[in-house]
Amino acid sequence: MTRLVRRRYLALKIDSEESLEHKAVSDAIWSAVLRLFGEVGASQAGLFMVRSDTQKGHIVLRCWHKALPMVRAAIASITIIGGKPAAVHVLRVSGTLKALSRKSGSIVGKEGSAHGNVNSHFRKPMKNSPIDMMKK
């Protein structure tokens, strides 16, 4: 059965000289999307932070397939996170989390943790979502 909405998973790398908090990173991504594309655009992006390891600067973000160019543009436009100069680079983009972990190895690996319930900006993961099933 095909899914109605196709998704894209992005492996991101945060480049900053100082350590950043998870909330600051998610705020920066969210405000970049809002600033460039407005609330309607942001609502069409389907953004969700799947995994985040801000100590290592690795993030896995999910968005809807059609919103990928928009999300990439917003991510590239980030220059400041939490008041500190920073840059976010897209390392890989994939259609499934499994393929993304195969392509980018440890970035999506087990050391990362899901943060769906930490920040109210990102939707909570659904029960029995494909990601939860994959973790099992």
Partner: protein
């Protein structure tokens, strides 16, 4: 695809920072970088920069930015420095300057550095001249990122959109360059291509503006500077033996 960044503002006086910037550029996937240098730079400084680039697996391109105040000053600069640098960019701060730069075949890149839309002079007349002379329009993306920081982006994006559309209709090649002076302002070529969505340049054109177009400018000038070049389309293949 070989990606080229023709405006990496690596400071030649601070080699440590230049090293970091060049290493970052290599890490992000560029294979050729152009560094704006002062007109009076010594040969040793250029070789040092070239060496740093080669250590990082990058092809180094010398570039001179001319920012003259009058057309005469531009012509004098072109006459004096054209053969010494591989890429020559004219920074157009006035309309008269922009017109003179666009009609001169020795100018490779037309740069408009102002964030104020009224001080960017790339209109249809300028594009027609540039199209005839073979000059390319350079868009510095670090400038765009800084416009987002200071909330000047509405007028600036609108102007960039217009410039890109005029360039396309007159077949003036567009060159995207980073214009970055710090590693944190550098982005991957694919990220720059994504940013071009903001001024309605499609992804394939954006990737060309980061690879084929700037590489073409460098290749054309290197060919011209080689010893066997005679005129456009004419080069020495083999020298005749004595009569």
């Amino acid at each position: 695809m070989r990606f080229v960044d023709l405006c990496l503002c690596a400071p030649w006086t601070n080699l440590e920072q230049a090293k970091r910037l060049i290493a970052k550029s290599a890490e992000l996937g560029y294979s050729q970088i152009g560094v704006p240098l002062p007109a009076t730079i010594r040969e040793e400084a250029v070789s040092q920069m070239r060496q740093i680039s080669e250590e990082n697996g990058l092809d180094f391109v010398t570039r001179l930015d001319l920012a003259p105040k009058s057309p005469d000053e531009l012509l004098a600069g072109l006459r004096r420095f054209r053969s010494k640098f591989e890429v020559l960019a004219a920074i157009c701060n006035s309309k008269v300057m922009a017109r003179q730069a666009a009609k001169d075949r020795r100018v490779d890149l037309l740069c408009f550095r102002s964030l104020d839309p009224r001080k960017r002079f790339f209109d249809r007349a300028e594009a027609e001249l540039a199209s005839a002379s073979g000059a390319a329009l350079e868009i510095c993306l670090a400038q765009m990122l800084s416009s987002l920081e200071v909330n000047l982006s509405v007028g600036f994006f609108s102007r960039l959109r217009r410039e890109a559309s005029i360039a396309k209709s007159f077949r003036v090649p567009i060159v995207f360059s980073s214009g970055a002076s710090e590693p944190l302002l550098l982005r991957k070529p694919q990220d720059y291509a994504a940013l071009s969505l903001l001024f309605d340049v499609d992804a394939s054109c954006a990737l060309e503006a980061l690879s084929v177009n700037p590489a073409g400018v460098v290749e054309r000038n290197r060919r011209k500077q080689s010893s066997d070049y005679v005129a456009p389309g004419v080069r020495v293949v083999k020298e005749a033996r004595g009569r």
